[in-house]
Symmetry: C2
Subunit: 216 residues, 2 copies
């Protein structure tokens, strides 16, 4: 049995919500299940886990430090802080790519003409933290959700964001218990996986934490 | 103890989700708690309840017919069908006022320029069904969520949509257990309420079902 005690791990999970006004927001289908599976598996094997999560309906996993956030910018701030001394960061959150360029402080009134929402890009959490790192730590893993050209798009994402590991899957994975995925790592052939998210969590963690000694 | 057996009631609950693409959507903070409280209270008192609900994290209430939908147009279709022989319809759902004018069949790619989302108005479920009714049934009740001018805006909504009862509250009510509200009915002074959503459910049902005989 693998023992990952003293490995410090930061995991992001869930969707983010990007508000238009106090009640309306833009979000996505992520349930947080993959992040929870990663956090629970890593904790069981002895790792010290911080879970930075957007809104989900799951209770806090036991033994894990949980930081709950709403939007992408808050998730970046919390993840950056937690990642400071971490061996690895796994971005399992489905961070909203965009947010409304303006948030109304009062609920937008229904008018005769429907509004047009101008969006602006959110920061890319993994790309930002990967650019900021000096040295091999934290190792960084991300997910690539692609409706088509799964492998090619995921490999491109890995290169652009300078990640150590990418898990490519289709939008069907969102919210489900089982999933199909391709694990991509530098210098290794892509590894195809089909099964439940707990087994996938184990595979990701084994690959990402491999060879990290507890005194690193 | 009131007995509402044979009263047929349709309740809408939760938020709706209005998709931009297979994974992204526009939604709101509604939890479904108010609709669940109404459905459970009505069922306990003997009513036959159909609950038409958007995505929530609550399990189906016992003894209630539950129809799960995603967006406003599907909620309108399901509610219209269920309301056909109902004594009352209570719109406790926070139906999205707008939806993206176009839904992409594949996940929108992150591009150098962020997209602009053109919205179009969703149908107003209560206003539509109220316009379609011939005679006093179904009686119709709705909620008015207003950040300011609570009473005036809610009375205007009641008139425009031709409702029998309106519950006015502030966006703070969304997702919470306790709530403050004003009950508005034709020919009666506004009634101020503060307490948990189960007690509010009881008050709404008592007022709305009052005087309906079981053979109506």
């Amino acid at each position: 049995v693998r023992d990952w005690s003293r490995r410090r791990l930061v995991i992001t999970a869930g969707p983010t919500r990007e508000h238009l006004d106090p009640v309306r927001y833009l979000s996505n289908e992520s349930s947080g299940r993959m992040g929870w599976a990663l956090a629970e598996t890593a904790h069981k094997r002895g790792a010290r886990v911080t879970l930075v999560t957007g809104p989900t309906s799951f209770p806090d996993p036991k033994g894990v430090t949980v930081i709950r956030v709403v939007n992408a910018r808050d998730m970046l701030a919390a993840t950056r802080k937690a990642a400071h001394h971490a061996h690895a960061v796994i971005g399992a959150a489905a961070v909203a790519d965009w947010r409304p360029h303006r948030v109304s402080r009062t609920k937008l009134k229904k008018r005769s003409t429907a509004p047009v929402i101008r969006l602006v890009a959110n920061p890319d959490i993994l790309a930002t933290l990967s650019k900021e790192r000096r040295g091999p730590f934290p190792r960084m893993a991300g997910f690539a959700l692609e409706s088509n050209n799964l492998l090619a798009n995921a490999q491109e994402k890995m290169r652009l964001k300078n990640l150590d590991l990418v898990v490519a899957n289709s939008p069907r994975a969102l919210g489900s218990v089982r999933t199909r995925a391709i694990l991509i790592q530098t210098g290794r052939p892509p590894h195809r996986f089909s099964g439940d998210k707990k087994r996938l969590a184990d595979l990701i963690l084994s690959n990402l934490l491999e060879g990290i000694r507890s005194h690193d």
